[in-house]
Amino acid sequence: MTRPVSRSAIVWSIVRKDLAEYGRDKLWAFLTVMVLVVVVVLFWLLPDDVNESISVGVSGLNDPSALATLQAAEEGLLLVPFESAQDLEAVVAGDAAAWHGDGYTIAIANDAADEPPNGAERISTSIGIAFPEDFFATTAAGGSAAVTVYIDAAVPDEVETAMTSLVRELAYAAAGDELPVDTLAADQIFVVLGEDRVGNQASARDGFRPVFVFLILLMEMFVMASLIAKEIHDRTVVAVLVTPATIGDVLAAKGIVGVLSGMAQAVIVLIAIDSLAPQPALILMLMLLGAVMVSGTAMLAGSTGKDFMSTLFTGMLYMIPLMIPAFAALFPGTASAWVQAMPSYPLVQGLVNVSTYGDGWAETLPELGVLLAWCVGLFAIGWLVLKRKVQTL
């Protein structure tokens, strides 16, 4: 005498069994917690701002207004006034430390016992421009001045070239030589295209946010793949199939476990790295689709793996291409076409657009659509491959 059992009850029983197995596997439990902790700690260790300025020490410009005018005109330069060219050279050479206070900078030689002034902040500069004291007077009178640029040999070539050009342009301006071209804008030589993000650039923390979140999902892929491989290797899945459970129930349960555990970890990380705030529902939707996608991939990897090592290896083969879009997001600009063709690209790009640029549902619809298509495709392939594998046991 048996009473009929609903499919959902069977699936739920298998889900509970899988979750219990997951919890019992000490290695994966340890790795899951470790990756969660490492990701969160690393995220908060990353810098939250972007240094957009080139620090340049300047000597010889005794007129503070000249320095202020120069600073205002040249966004991207951080000008630090020095008393003398000798101080400047010593600081650039690393023989002295520069201490900057309110309107002054002093250089204290490394071997000197002098204490820095109260409230002064230590600054470093690898470029120094030593103007002669009569620089403006000479050039304005039509003469030729001599300027020395001290530059650390490690400074990139393009910066060295730009500093030389900057000095020449200052001299032209002092001499009253107008630009030999007409600029598009009245107050600066360039026109900014797109939203001007100077002072508000995406930081390393912003850049790595989708990488870390996606890493968590990939970790979940390994766990799922390993559990599936273990079930196949130990043939426990065959034992489950002699009960009223069907292959469909088993696969549905695997999918649910993968999505649940992936989502749970992703949500923990998103909260811990303070990334849910801008669009919580949209970010959770992206993560849900991402979790479905990695569950499908885990079914693929798990059905081909025989043991821990082979599962790990197969998982790596799937992980590397899926990771590429996450790392590509660290680089400025549009990703190459082949990167955009990766299944994980819409997920990563969606996360970048929402978390960094504040996109909403309407702007993210294309990514959601493509991601959904990939999810359905990968999950279906994973389902079919795993089903076939189980049937052959």
Partner: protein
Amino acid sequence: MNPTRILTVLRKDLQLGPRSPIFLWVLMLPLLITLVLQVTFGNLFEPDPRLGVVDQGASTVTTAVQQIAGIELTILDDVEELKTKVEANDLDAGLVLQAAFDADVRAGTKPPLEFYVGGESLASNRIILAVTAIDLVREVEGRPPPVAVNVVAIGDEGLPISVRLVPFIVMYALLVAAVFLPSFSLADEREKRTLAALTVTPVKLSEVVTAKGILGFLLAGAMAIVTLWFNGALTAQPLALIVVLIVASLLLVEIGLIYGTASKDITGVFTLIKGTGFILLAPTLFYIFTNWPQWIAKLFPTYWVINPLYEVTINDAGLGTVWAELVIALGVIALLAAVVVAFTRRLRFKLAMT
């Protein structure tokens, strides 16, 4: 210990080993990491400013930009394409030079300068590209500047990031071959009970462990040389390189043998590697981030093989420069050898009890 029996076990491992995925890891990972780090991500740490130019004539400005080191130049045909790329942050800035740009500048008719910068470009890149572009336009004008600029370069040039990554990549090659291979191989044999089966033959456990160590040692040396060659870092000091690689491989093989003999299965080895891998690789980070306090690197045991490797491969140092560090490394090796012996005895006891 009988060399013939060790060779027999070694031969068996060489024949059966390639069936294991770990062998493929040993062969593929160093090359893959080289590719990923050097080709793809070498640029991440030190990105060059990116300038696009649409030259509708044959301006000397374009030729001059091509000759400036450190500016990534892209020449495009279409102004709209240039503007799209600049706006999408595929370029930091874009310059449009009209058909008779040079002639108009020289004639003093002030042609328009179409210079666009992307909203996401860094302020530092904007100023680099803007002042450089203006300076080049001034050169077209042909008038001598009212200033003489004397550039004084101070100190050493420093090493590019691609070179500073080499210790990490080589260390990883050594790690995979010298640590992963013997440890996983031992744990796998223990898990599958073939290790217990071997011990009922005349082969002693110490001989099996030694054979695994030799396999890791040989592959580590080979993969380190291949990786160095792949990274263009094979040194002019072959003797010093061989000595350093022998010492480095020995030290890491011993760590692998400790992992292998201490773990009861593969998952145990994996946990050990995941938990301690950072300690083994940590000194390599100090070559990438040169502004970190360098003395911290010396606290890690692997520093004493990584630094000689760095000095010999990157700075072409000879044995005379690195002998002191190698002596310390040999001291670490002697200590680890005692641990390997102790763990092998412990393993023999455990196998006898099962």
